[in-house]
Amino acid sequence: MLQVNNIEVAYMSVIRVLHGVSLTVDDGKIVALIGANGGGKTTTLKSISGLLKTEEGEITSGNIIFNNHRIDKYHPESIAGLGISQVMEGRRVLEHLSVEENLNIGAYRRNDRAGIKSDLDMVFNYFPKLKDFRRRTSGYLSGGEQQMLVIGRAMMARPKLMLLDEPSLGLAPLFVHEIFKIIKKINAEQKVAILLVEQNVRAAFGIADYGYVMENGRIVLDGPADKLRDNEDVKEFYLGLSTVGSQKSFRDIKHYRRRKRWLS
């Protein structure tokens, strides 16, 4: 469905942030992309959705194929038209618009009134809270409700692929659990493929089918999510566990041994 082939991305033609990233998202699958801050995860999502072009970024080599269209030179609005919705990091609700208007903006490119109405009900079905607040100014919603709203807005476009950028950011652990459950449910019921960027590795691998680990603009490790979860390096560096799942004590850390095996 989506193939990112060896892309390199530079901002302002000078700062190269991605050094040859390749990844694949298959139909109806959830793929998690994890990694440390500044690793290039968000940039990868923005290259796919085309929003990179609004930030003086450019794909300098490689290509991106989505359902037989080569989209790396497309404008963001045409990429959205092909069925890719990005949920940007940091709950970007349109603050002064009501909840319902926010959702309607998501369906802007569609003209089937009945379909939009039934999708509105579908979103309210996944997020019943939004239905109670449908006339409220969205800027006054709580963080979790805003996160629901932006995911709902992306769903209103009836996308084939949703790019979720850190849906757990700044949410309480219990709430993270709930959001991820809903994401999994949406994926299973609406047959939407999801590319998920996450810092919360445990939650991400909990629902993902496949995972990629990114560091310094490169994919350093990939594999089925359950395999990655058992990978010792992922365990040590992202899940905070040492051998056999026991909690790690800082007393045992020998710094010279903390070497990531995929480097060097």
């Binding site: 609004t54 963001p76 609005e77 990005q86 970007r92 349109l94 002064h96 802007y108």
Partner: protein
């Protein structure tokens, strides 16, 4: 009392025109966060277009207004495409500079096409005078009130109910989000400039009917800026109310105070700017404007 009501009614008519011009400012402010200094020049061009269609071509009022609107749509589209599209993503200051240049160019074009002299078309507007008891509403004011109310209602409906209005409000909030859901931001800009041009030109026709047209008519743009500030920069409802407030106050103040002044007049031209100063001192964010949403 009759004198007072007369002043209020004429002031109301004038205020509605100010409100129209101010709406032009607000629309551009909302989409590109910049003051469109050339809005007053749009008004001036509108006045000349009114003269051309009403007097030179001798068209009826409604046809003249429609023709002028058509010209305004083309003009707005061209202005956006040629001068402002290349500046998308540039700083707000660059856009403001461009609109200053645009204003000067439009004044030059008007002088070239229509010549520098004063043109009037009082007689061209139909002379329906509404008499309510003691006082009468002059025909220019009446037409002004009717047309501006129509335009304002149409705009409010556009922003509230139409899909494109929703997209414009969304674009004012967050361009990136709007692009990510598949809205073409550049076409939203084009439409915004077209609307700004149309309201400018329509108010120009109305104003031209009241006081005649000349190149310096574009100064009314600065007066409308007072309305925008009073109304709170990004609120259309605020611009309408502020327009009426300034129009009425200006007219009433001029009517009662001008005879008392040693110079014998001129207060109407100063009054809006006195209001700007007072507003900026006490309410720097204007009366209405969108509230900045802060969650606690």
């Amino acid at each position: 009392m009759t004198f007072f009501l007369q002043l209020v009614i004429t002031g109301f008519g004038l205020g509605m025109v100010y409100a129209l011009i101010a709406i032009g400012f607000v629309i551009i402010l909302k989409c590109s966060k910049a003051f469109n200094i050339a809005q007053g020049q749009f008004v001036m061009i509108g006045g000349y277009l009114g003269f051309t269609f009403l007097v030179t071509f001798n068209l009826p009022v409604w046809a003249s207004i429609l023709a002028a609107i058509a010209v305004a749509v083309v003009m707005g589209g061209l202005i956006e495409r040629l001068t402002l599209r290349p500046l998308v993503g540039q700083s707000v200051l660059a856009i403001i500079m461009m609109t200053i240049a645009l204003g000067t160019i439009l004044e030059g074009v008007a002088t070239l096409v229509w010549g520098g002299e004063y043109k009037a078309y009082h007689g061209a507007l139909p002379t329906i005078t509404l008499k309510v008891g003691e006082f009468s509403i002059p025909p220019e004011t009446l037409i002004g009130i009717i047309v501006s109310i129509l335009v304002v209602v149409a705009l409010m409906a556009l922003f509230r109910y139409a899909k494109i209005g929703l997209a414009m409000r969304a674009t004012a909030e967050d361009e990136q989000v709007v692009q990510s859901v598949g809205i073409k931001v550049t076409s939203i800009y084009t439409i915004s400039w077209m609307i700004a041009c149309v309201v400018g030109v329509v108010s120009g026709i109305i104003l031209g009917g009241v006081s005649g047209v000349m190149v310096s008519m574009s100064e009314v743009g600065m007066k409308a800026l007072a309305v925008v500030l009073l109304g709170g920069i990004d609120s259309i409802g605020g611009a309408i109310l502020a327009g009426i407030i300034i129009g009425v106050l200006e007219n009433v103040a001029a009517g009662y105070l001008d005879p008392l002044l040693p110079s014998g007049g001129g207060l109407a031209n100063v009054f809006p700017f006195i209001i700007i100063i007072i507003v900026l001192i006490f309410k720097p964010h204007g009366l209405f404007g969108l509230k900045r949403i802060e969650r606690i």
